[in-house]
Symmetry: C2
Subunit: 496 residues, 2 copies
Amino acid sequence: MIPGMVGDREGNLRAVEDLDGVSYDVLVVGTGSAGKPLAGALAKAGLRVLAVERHRIGGECPYVACVPSKSMLLSARRHRRQPGRKPDVLDREAFAQAVGIRDRTVRYRDDSEEASGMLGEGVELVRANATIPPGSSRSLRLNDRATVHWTRALVLATGANAVIPPIDGLDPIDGLDQDAAGIWTSDRALSGDELPERLAILGGGAIGCELAEVYASFGSRVTLIEAGPALLGREQPWLGEAMAEGLRGIGVDVRTGTELTSVRPADPGPGVLLSLGDGELVPAQRLLVAIGKKPVTAGLGLEQLGIEPGEGGELAVDARMRVRVKNQVLDDVFAIGDLTALNPYTHGANYQARVVADELLGRGRDADHNGTPRVVYTDPAAFAVGDTERTAADRGLRTITARFDVTGTTRSAVERTLDPDDHRPAGLELIADAGSGVLIGAAAIGPEADSWAAELALAVRARITLQALADQPHAFPSWAEAISAPAQELAEKLRG
Amino acid sequence: MIPGMVGDREGNLRAVEDLDGVSYDVLVVGTGSAGKPLAGALAKAGLRVLAVERHRIGGECPYVACVPSKSMLLSARRHRRQPGRKPDVLDREAFAQAVGIRDRTVRYRDDSEEASGMLGEGVELVRANATIPPGSSRSLRLNDRATVHWTRALVLATGANAVIPPIDGLDPIDGLDQDAAGIWTSDRALSGDELPERLAILGGGAIGCELAEVYASFGSRVTLIEAGPALLGREQPWLGEAMAEGLRGIGVDVRTGTELTSVRPADPGPGVLLSLGDGELVPAQRLLVAIGKKPVTAGLGLEQLGIEPGEGGELAVDARMRVRVKNQVLDDVFAIGDLTALNPYTHGANYQARVVADELLGRGRDADHNGTPRVVYTDPAAFAVGDTERTAADRGLRTITARFDVTGTTRSAVERTLDPDDHRPAGLELIADAGSGVLIGAAAIGPEADSWAAELALAVRARITLQALADQPHAFPSWAEAISAPAQELAEKLRG
């Protein structure tokens, strides 16, 4: 699609200027995992919807985030299992092949198919910058050349960008050529074709862990630096420790509880020299910064509606995803997706899109952000849902927990007799509210955990009792059997 | 353990005779997937329990059924994925290696570890034939050399044996050396080390499909003969058709709607010559008969208690698993496991054991056989739970259904870009009760379906509404995402 041009269902292209003064039922700003399904659902229901996108139609996920990451992880796993593979040798050929498959998977980051999809659903689409103009009366300026109006709702879904932390040598990095300076963010790592001999990764969350696995599998010497005491810091500590054990098993140098204090250009270059809090110097060709994301609000003119982003840049919303302004909510302005920082996953954004679509289509209900799975697609995969013991305590709940060694399942025993060298960590923990006897959280790691633990997300959301979960037959010999023993243990505790 | 000898927690061995006149709280006949966990649970709770086993402690599952089958399937899958493998060539070396791994997995069919496990739980154990004597007053004869008594309950858990159908040349086969005649049942196939060049399999249920995949993977020419119109006959027909497509994809000659009319010794031998209903003659080294199982009741002396097995040999039970005799139930005689034919899975037997344990420990509740997953561990795996449209109609329910092509998930797209030659069938169908809006059944086939579809078993059992299932966020890009689209479609239908 030509920048600054408008598309409609008939494939007509018009200049942005032609939209000046046009009124829509709903304006959607941002077409990522939140905005795109929302715009489509509303247009299919007969509303006139204009979606505005500054960058790629479809957002980050299909091009430079979840999808290429999964592709690279699958290729990496396959490569690690190659007989005769030398673990410590850079395998540029295999990496190039993986990159080729990745790029086919993401259609070379060309968004025309996603754009056609949206147009086909009846969404009108424009590639432009959107700004709420001063004295706005339900209007939006596009590229400062046209003003469009909404009658029902403005939906903000501009997503989030990688945060570069205020570390000596990294900040301020605006205006710096990050690539030349040896600094990557995940979108750069997931769209480039470079296999660094040494890669440092800052941040032990999902992205840091996934990319550590990818690069280590192809022979990069990866150092994963996490300031907190464990990887996957918001999860139960044992889960992060198991993840670290898994990554160490494939050669990643995991440094938890370690500050990055400064980044200097390597001399001689190229690359960087990192100083760690313990005084150690770590050289690397590249430093991948993956400490988190910050909602994108700059330039939107939110102040015209009295909207003030929170400390992390996020927009506060009520249970219907309407934007909060001080002590009230704006009836006709919604925020969904990473912009809310409430549920920063593709499936979380999809979910919020459904909540707003239902609201605007007259079948509204409150959003329930509980029961959203949090998955790390490493091998073994990590899965978490609902509360941790910490968040439950913050809510004043008394919890009881049960841990289970997933290698104790028959399925694991059968698989490990085939693969005696398989020492991947595998475990499951269930967290119940002692008061209600209901499952409120779970954490799992193990082969196919992204598949078999999904049941626990449903259980948390549907407020299934431990009694019911303990009574549920799990197929023998499937991985899901892992759920039975800790569920029965907790049911017993609750009864006793 | 020495046959005819008794073990107790201290490891003391006594002759069966020494038990004469001893009274137990509970006598358990059979130590398979039903009897073993029940005996263990009761002994751990402090009851005095004697378990009687005629054959192997632990029953069939750990030695000659599910466990070796899963091991062989995993080896077979790995072998199929070997680069450079020739699909049509018998690979005896790879098969022998798989058999070696299988035999290590099943500990060479030695039951001493399972026996130690039971003794460690406090169960007393005797290897003997058990018969209810004439005029029985809560007593059981062991090897016709001792009489033991129960005060609380007798639990029958004798399992089931493969059925040999009344087909010309097969029946009567008693007294015939099956092996010499070229006839196998699954336990023979799963404990031997022979790789037939041509293998015919009679019966397209779970066992027939799994073993077809195993042998075809190692190069056997497999003909799978099923009299019914589709494989997996009790499931939704499309599931059996998808299974057939998958098996054909790895070279199995699938013949549905085909009768086996006679079996003759091949001339020249060895092997058999099969006549099919369409007049075709199929030669094979071996015929594996896998048309079903029949409960084992012969010689138990059930008639002494007035118990008459049903037409299929099964014992009728009430919701507490108490044996029914005409219009009443026996208060103190229970039947569990394959003997009831209610829930013929290892996990179904485990479940029934929990129901009886709870009953005898004073916390009884009715058994709920709904929500038991039915899994075929082929690749792709098949999964079904709850009602089919047929069983729902039999119950007088009006159903609505939604099908989804699982290859439409992002996960599948990513995996198939890596494996463009992956044409394995993948699909999901949800079945809802139009009246209550509740999920009552599901059928799935696809990679890891035994893992990701498990959620649907919980949903069926917990009577989750389609609305709730549609609202459940599934992790992107996991296989479980496949559930969202058909769930939302059904929720929409129910709303509309």
